[in-house]
Amino acid sequence: MVKDTGKTVRADTYKPVNTPEALKVNEDALGLPAAVKLKRREAVISIEDRWRIDDEWWRAEPVSRLYYNVLLASGQRLVLYKDLVGGGWYEQEY
């Protein structure tokens, strides 16, 4: 008979897609993104949109993010957010 493996199936069988990636962002005096470091440092020429999500507030680590849809000097568009709990900046498709 098959033996009980006792294993716990974890990340290798269930991987979230589109996880946020940490990003270096220079903020201006108002805390808005002024420049982003991708392969090289690029200035943000305009903020096209921004929105905030607050979720899972009942948990020990709630989700609170301020998203920005920005246009970079190179013409590239980027969605990034500031983690209002941890304080870091992340890039993530929305």
Binding site: D4, R10, A11, T13, P16
Partner: protein, 410 residues
């Protein structure tokens, strides 16, 4: 003549039976204290929902110093007696796994071990005199396995008497009972009988409070009033218990679980997770020519509440899709008690499928070939190589919660 011989043989067996009963009082609480030593010495009540759909909580167990509590007592009543006690939701899968460890350990003491409800074990002690020259050696061996649980042990000639002896023994001690069962039993209350609540109620209605009162009667009137159970009640009152010692079902149980990346209330996320577990378990079962006959789907919520449903398959299931349909139905019919953190599947019974024919359609065959190729690739390179994207919570405001990758081959 043949009949007389058989009868003689059976009676001889009963007379020769020697059973060690190991009781592990407050088993659920001790499991919790083993996991969290800070609970030791604190007043705590282990509770469980009456059923998955109900919000009523019932007492499962409690710390030994609390008095006046009974099993299945509503939590409100328990708190009325001990308002400062900690409340611990019962973690049944954990208790089962600890109990399984104990049964495994006791099987090293004697090959014949019967585990009933968690916390009560019967060990066949016949024919072990070459390994354990006396009862003390046997008791010590059993005590070593169950040392964390302060066992109460009893040795007697049948299960009923062994259980009574264990109940009357001191913690970490053993009471050995050989002798006149009738005089041992006569003053005990009828509540000690392992019979239905209905029969116990009926005994009270008849004004029968002690086993001695039953023993003084003839079996006929008992049988006419209580039916088949009447005979058993009368026999137990005489100290006769012919129930055999049934060793554990030797079929291995396969259990795996998955911790979700984030807690969820989404049925799709739970199904996806259960499916990925089954995709991991099932190929091994199928390769051996078996199908799944019975499985238990269980979940644990973020606040440690448990939910579980048992699913039977009339025809042993070898096809993941048909299993997932049944899982979905169970999840729809019996809602979760809260946001889910962990999902598990326990395959309890396997069976041989009656007959299976290969698919005639070429495209289905092609899919099977593709699955085989992916499996080969995985075996060669080690880890899952090809994943598929599954919708988990497509409506979620948090982007990483919307989709997940699961291995194609599993």
């Amino acid at each position: 003549m043949q009949g007389i011989d058989n009868r003689t043989f059976v009676l001889y067996n009963i007379a020769a039976m020697k059973i060690l009963c190991v009781l592990l009082p407050h088993f659920a609480w001790r499991c919790e204290a083993r996991r969290n030593p800070a609970l030791e010495g604190r007043a705590a009540i282990v509770i469980q929902s009456k059923d998955p759909a109900s919000s009523q909580k019932l007492v499962v167990d409690w710390s030994p110093e609390l008095e006046g509590l009974t099993r299945d007592m509503p939590l409100q009543q328990a708190l009325a007696r001990h308002d400062s006690a900690d409340i611990i939701p019962a973690d049944l899968p954990y208790y089962r796994s600890v109990f399984k460890e104990i049964l495994d350990g006791l099987e090293q003491v004697s090959p014949l071990v019967e585990g009933g409800d968690p916390g009560c074990v019967y060990v066949g002690a016949d024919g072990l005199h070459l390994i354990y020259p006396n009862d003390a050696a046997l008791i010590n061996a059993a005590r070593e396995v169950t040392a964390d649980f302060t066992p109460q042990m009893g040795i007697a000639g049948n299960k009923f008497l062994a259980a009574l002896a264990a109940q009357q023994s001191q913690p970490d001690d053993c009471k050995i009972f050989w002798g006149d069962a009738a005089s041992f039993l006569k003053d005990l209350p009828c509540d000690v009988l392992p019979v239905s609540v209905k029969s116990k109620g009926k005994l009270r209605d008849f004004g029968i409070r002690r086993l001695g009162q039953i023993a003084a009667m003839l079996p006929g009137p008992m049988q006419s009033q209580f039916g088949l159970e009447g005979k058993r009640i009368w026999e137990l009152a005489q100290g006769i218990d012919n129930t055999p010692l049934l060793s554990r079902f030797m079929e291995e149980v396969i259990e795996e679980s998955a911790t979700l990346p984030s807690i969820t209330v989404s049925m799709d996320a739970i199904v996806t997770s259960a499916e990925s577990i089954l995709l991991h378990i099932l190929p091994d079962i199928i390769r051996r020519g078996f199908g799944i006959r019975n499985l238990t789907l269980w979940t644990r919520t973020w606040n440690m509440e448990n939910w579980e449903r048992e699913i039977n398959f009339r025809e042993p299931a070898m096809d993941i899709k048909s299993i997932v349909v049944r899982l979905k139905r169970a999840l729809e019919d019996y809602p979760q008690p809260g946001p889910v953190e962990q999902v598990g599947v326990r395959v309890n019974r396997l069976g041989y499928p009656l007959g299976r024919q290969r698919n005639l359609f070429a495209d289905m065959r092609a899919q099977e070939h593709l699955a085989d190729d992916i499996k080969q690739l995985e075996l060669k390179l080690g880890n899952p190589q090809i994943y598929k994207v599954k919708e988990v919570e497509p409506w979620s405001r948090i982007p990483e919660r919307r989709y997940a990758l699961t291995p194609t081959s599993r």
